[in-house]
């Protein structure tokens, strides 16, 4: 069965860049979705499960760390792999968001190789 991907970032440009980088990494998803905020992402997650979420941290309305906490309360999100994609690089913050339920972390700026390295183990 094909995999699904959701990109959560308040910047439409960054969502497109992430989508392009995923394609360049060679990873394939049968279904891709976008959300411009944590709130929008949670609404979509309530409808049905997503295999992988790539989520920004610094977003207005609801930041990525709060989105991860709330997503982990949803039955549809039990098996979802969540990878944060952010300019934030403080180790304390990375540790905290991993504790809160994220499965990985990629810092901006990023390369297709980093996406492949972080996402491949989560897809298998």
């Amino acid at each position: 069965m094909g995999k699904s991907l959701m990109i959560v970032d308040d910047s439409a440009t960054m969502r497109k860049i992430i989508m392009r980088t995923v394609r360049m990494s060679g990873l394939e998803f049968d279904r891709t979705e976008e959300a411009g905020s944590g709130v929008e992402a949670l609404e979509k997650l309530k409808i049905g499960p997503i295999d992988v979420i790539l989520c920004d941290i610094n977003m207005p309305e609801m930041n990525g760390t709060e989105m991860v906490k709330q997503a982990r309360q949803l039955p549809t999100c039990a098996g979802t792999k969540i990878v944060m994609v952010s300019t934030e690089s403080a180790q304390d913050l990375i540790n905290q968001v991993l504790t809160d339920g994220a499965n990985g972390y990629i810092t901006k700026p990023f390369t297709p190789e980093q996406f492949r390295e972080k996402l491949t183990p989560l897809l298998n």
């Binding site: 308040d10 910047s11 439409a12 440009t13 960054m14 497109k16 860049i17 392009r20 610094n58 977003m59 207005p60 952010s86 300019t87 934030e88 690089s89 403080a90 304390d92 810092t107 901006k108 700026p109 990023f110 390369t111």
Partner: protein, 163 residues
């Protein structure tokens, strides 16, 4: 305490890294004193606070911003890009350069909080923090085609000032 020269190196190296990785354009320090702007320019800014507080900004003319946005999105330079797309790209660029600067200085300066980026369009755009603020400026040549100005306007926060 970080010196102005050190911050300038950090700013230039950070801008260069982001351009190489995400914009796919070569960036080098330019000998020019001010960017050769067209009639209007875009100023992408992002503020930060902590033991150093201030604002990082990128200023370039619209043609340069359009090319940067097209490259970031993997589109042809002649592709039709709306104003919103171009501003969004410049805001993200400011965000990523700030994130890279932050990762290089926070070991010495401690945690730094960063805002959401903002972009304005106009003439003779400049950020200001009033008297007592310091500013580091890097004039950058982009692929020999464009000039952009990267600046870091800042003042020391409480623990640097008193500690």
């Amino acid at each position: 305490m970080m010196t102005t020269a050190c911050l300038k190196d950090v700013l230039l190296d950070s801008a260069r890294e982001v351009f190489e990785t995400m914009v796919f354009m070569a960036l080098a320090e330019s000998g020019e004193n001010s960017p050769a702007m067209g009639e209007t320019a875009l100023l992408g800014s992002i503020t930060f606070k902590g033991n150093l507080k201030g604002c990082l900004a990128i200023c370039c003319d619209v043609a340069c911003a359009r090319t940067i946005a097209a490259n970031m999105l993997g589109m042809d330079a002649s592709a039709e890009l709306g104003e919103a797309d171009i501003c969004d790209a410049i805001g993200e660029l400011a965000n990523m350069v700030m994130g890279t600067v932050k990762s290089r200085i926070q070991n010495e300066l401690g945690p730094i909080e960063v805002s959401i980026p903002s972009v304005v369009r106009g003439r003779e755009l400049k950020n200001s923090m009033g008297e007592g603020a310091s500013m580091v400026t890097v004039m950058a040549d982009i692929e020999g085609q464009y000039t952009a100005e990267f600046s870091l306007l800042y003042r020391s926060g409480p623990s640097e000032r008193h500690g």
